[in-house]
């Protein structure tokens, strides 16, 4: 009998992807530090879980391949094999195959794949060292005994070396090893379902390392009325068994914790009592939690937007209720409104948080890409990632991957020189590429930095002249900024498209366009012979910003705080005229002064001669400008809304918000206001 697994397919896919990501990362670590035991353990655990999951789901080819991978991994752990480049390569290739198989499963093509080539390679590696390890093998008798006779006998479980490795590792990590015998009611019609529930329950507690009969046989119903499992857990064995007994039609007949000494390969040693050394230390728990992957739900971003809209509405109507409360002076209403206020504020914060994801999601794809690329180009590259916990809005995250790939490819292909060249220039043989993310104010900065050859101004200019972007005369007078701007010109980067590596037909102009479409900016710094740094500045989120709310006459506007430097109050005598342009002095600097009322054609009520004038100092590029307003209302977190097609590209207006009173307020765009 085969269970219908389709409902678990999503869970399987989601979890296997997490494990794949983990595998990928740890393999890279292992490659860097071949003796890194913790990385190896992680790889082992992920591979093992993958194997278990895929065989449960009936993807035999996948299970088989991971099994062979595991063989190699356990040898690595035992120290019988060194993590030499060919071994790691073989593991990477297996990993790739597993990944493509899982992708096929996701596409519904199925998980069948002919892996004989890889299994051949893996076996070859295994055999290669097996001869050396043969002496060790000979001492240990092969497990033959599969009959369940004496349940107390650990030997019954037919542990092989690799199981032992897992168990020893668990014990070293202060985990508990529990042997559980589960009896299923003889009347039970769906044994496999019960068994499956038992496994699900156990997997929540820990890791099932061994079952008698095998997991596959249990799956197919090839067992009588009982089976045995060996579980590694951080929880209390009694608790685990009590949980199991909650499943109907099953009974835990034995539940024993195993002492480390009893764990030797197939040695028929009776089970010992609870050992003091194993009584669960608190960190054992934590460790398990750390390993357990995060539970996630995929949600259509549109639904989040809807949710956001609704929360906005709620907040707005709350404002109206407050107004009623104030007007009518109802105390009870005020109290209730206060509660609603608190809840809606929290709700708003949560909804905004939901949209934020760590850049890790994107960054984790890169180490492998960098490694492969460096290999392909025969360059040695150290890839350093910093700040991957930095959070960004979901919509930004989804879009930022491709531009970063392009910049990284550029850095490795064009930036980092060949090893010989580096030696000649007296640099370390290994090039360094850094990918850095950090949070600064309302922005996130992502930097791609290499210590390669840098950008040569003359070459850029020459190419620009060739492409007809500038003429030779213009080229002479260009500043570095202007030269760098050429790099992002659409006519310039076509040359890059020719090489296969940084190619895919996109150039830096595409990168720039993408970044700008995300309301971001891109800068480039470069020093010949020393390296290049691309700096991307992105808004934390596209939807919510901090803004300064101001008023002019009876119109209210929001100015994004990101473009506000400070606010100040001046008197009318402070205003001077230079060539008919009003200016003020601010700490020794002369700033042009603009009156928002006349900028926005706001009808003047009367020529006011009030002496106190509020000025908002805004930044436009490198320039500071004073903006005269009537009152400063305050700072507020606002949800940006589009004004729609009809109002596209009005200079000075960036969008709109719905204020607490339900009225629409406009957001000023300082960059295009003047």
């Amino acid at each position: 009998m085969k269970m219908d697994m389709s409902q678990y397919l999503d869970v399987f896919l989601e979890e296997s992807k997490e494990h794949l990501e983990n595998l990928n990362q740890k393999l890279l670590e292992l490659e860097k530090h071949p003796t890194d035991v913790s990385a190896l353990n992680e790889i082992f655990r992920s591979a093992h879980t993958l194997k278990g999951m895929s065989s449960t789901m009936g993807f035999e080819d996948l299970a088989d391949l991971t099994h062979h991978m595991e063989d190699i991994l356990s040898d690595l752990k035992e120290g019988m094999l060194a993590a030499s480049p060919p071994v790691v390569d073989a593991l990477f290739r297996s990993f790739d195959r597993i990944q493509s198989m899982i992708e096929n499963i996701e596409r519904g093509i199925g998980g069948d794949s002919d892996n004989r080539d890889l299994i051949g390679i893996l076996n070859g590696i295994k055999q290669g060292h097996m001869e050396a390890a043969a002496v060790v093998e000979a001492v240990l008798p092969e497990p033959e005994n599969h009959v369940l006779q004496h349940s107390q006998d650990i030997g019954d479980l037919g542990l092989n070396e690799y199981d032992m490795a897992v168990l020893n590792e668990a014990i070293n990590a202060h985990m508990r090893v529990v042997s559980i015998k589960v009896e299923i009611d003889r009347e039970c019609l769906m044994k496999t379902v019960r068994a499956y529930m038992v496994f699900r329950s156990l997997e929540e507690e820990g890791e099932v390392v061994k079952t008698i009969p095998s997991a596959q046989e249990i799956d197919e119903g090839k067992f009588d009325s009982s089976f045995r499992v060996l579980l590694i857990t951080g929880s209390d064995p009694g608790e685990v068994c009590r949980n199991l007994n909650n499943i109907s039609e099953i009974q835990v007949s034995e539940c024993e914790e195993l002492h480390p000494d009893s764990l030797s390969v197939c040695a028929p040693i009776p089970v010992l009592k609870e050992s003091e050394g194993l009584s669960g230390e608190p960190e054992a728990h934590d460790q398990k939690k750390g390993v357990k992957s995060k539970q996630t739900v995929r949600v259509d971003i549109e639904r989040l937007d809807n949710l956001m809209n609704l929360v906005g509405e709620l907040v707005m109507h709350k404002g109206r209720l407050e107004q009623i409360g104030v007007n009518r002076k109802i105390v009870e209403l005020d109290e209730t409104i206060e509660q609603i206020d608190r809840i809606s504020t929290d709700l708003q914060a949560v909804v905004m948080k939901v949209r934020m994801v760590p850049v890790e999601q994107v960054f984790n794809r890169f180490p492998r890409m960098v490694r492969d690329l460096a290999k392909e180009l025969n360059k040695e590259v150290d890839f350093i990632i910093e700040g991957k916990e930095t959070e960004l809005d979901r919509t930004v995250i989804d879009e930022i991957g491709d531009p970063l790939i392009h910049l990284l490819r550029n850095a490795i292909d064009h930036g980092i020189e060949s090893s010989q060249e580096r030696v000649v220039r007296g640099k370390p043989v290994k090039g360094t590429v850094k990918l850095r993310a950090r949070h600064e104010g309302n922005n996130v900065y992502i930097e791609v930095e290499d210590d390669g050859g840098g950008i040569h101004t003359e070459q850029v200019l020459q190419k620009a002249i060739e492409k007809g972007l500038i003429d030779a005369k213009e080229a002479e007078n260009l500043t570095w900024e202007e030269t760098a701007a050429l790099l992002f010109h659409s006519g310039f980067s076509t040359a890059y498209a020719i090489t296969e590596i940084s190619g895919r037909g996109v150039g830096l102009d595409v990168v720039k366009n993408k970044i700008e479409s995300l309301s971001g900016e891109i800068f480039v710094d470069s020093r010949p012979e020393q390296g290049t740094r691309f700096r991307i500045k992105l808004p934390l989120t596209l939807a919510i910003i901090q803004a300064l709310i101001i008023s002019v006459q009876d119109e209210i506007y929001a100015i994004p705080l990101s473009s506000v430097d400070e606010t100040t109050m001046i008197s009318s005598q402070d205003i001077k005229l230079i060539q008919n342009q009003e200016v003020i002095m601010l700490r020794g600097t002369v700033l042009p002064l603009y009156r928002l009322a006349s900028q926005l054609d706001i009808p003047a009520a009367q020529e006011s001669d009030i002496d106190d004038i509020y000025v908002v100092i805004v930044r436009k590029g490198e320039r500071q400008i004073g903006l005269v307003v009537d009152t400063l209302i305050g700072q507020q977190e606002i949800v940006i809304k589009s004004l729609g097609r009809l109002f596209l590209g009005i200079p000075g207006i960036a969008g709109a918000i719905v204020a607490g009173d339900g009225n629409v307020r406009l957001i000023l765009d300082v960059a295009t206001l003047f």
Partner: protein
């Protein structure tokens, strides 16, 4: 208004060319727009002026969390507001995924217009704004100007 001389059956079953329209007043003129393009009719909401736009753009309003532009067709067509300010409404039209509010002096009614009662614009009307008009419908003694929304909002 008086429609009783129309046969019942024709009210219920539209011939394909027949139109159901919302009729409204701008100044002293009566206009009509296909009812399929009308999303809703609202009382005058607080309209926020949008600077640096055409004069006939009155501003934007908040329609349940959506920002909707409001157009003043009086200015556009050179008409003067007329009638009781209390009767003034915003009709929100939608077409091509665009939503636009229009301030009207009064919403009169929903009408059926037979294709045969619609006159081509060029025959009866010749002015600077003729391109906004699909035709003129005769309903009893009234003349309804059929607006071409697409052209109006372009």
């Amino acid at each position: 208004m008086d429609n009783t001389n129309e046969p019942e059956t024709q009210m219920l079953v539209d011939a394909p060319e027949d139109l159901q329209v919302v009729a409204f007043r701008l100044g002293k003129e009566e206009y009509a727009v296909n009812i399929l393009h009308v999303q809703e009719i609202n009382r005058l909401l607080n309209i926020t002026r949008v600077p640096r736009t055409e004069k006939y753009i009155k501003g934007v309003v908040n329609l349940r969390g959506n920002i909707v532009p409001v157009i003043n067709l009086h200015t556009r067509f050179g008409l003067l507001p007329d009638g009781d300010p209390e009767d003034r409404r915003i009709i929100v039209f939608h077409f091509d995924e665009l939503k636009v509010g229009v301030i009207v002096d009064e919403v009169s009614e929903v009408l059926h217009i037979k294709a045969g009662d619609i006159e081509e614009t060029t025959k009866v009307y010749d002015s600077a704004h003729a391109e906004h008009i699909k035709g003129v419908a005769k309903v009893d003694e009234r003349l309804l100007i059929l607006l071409d929304l697409k052209k109006t909002f372009e």
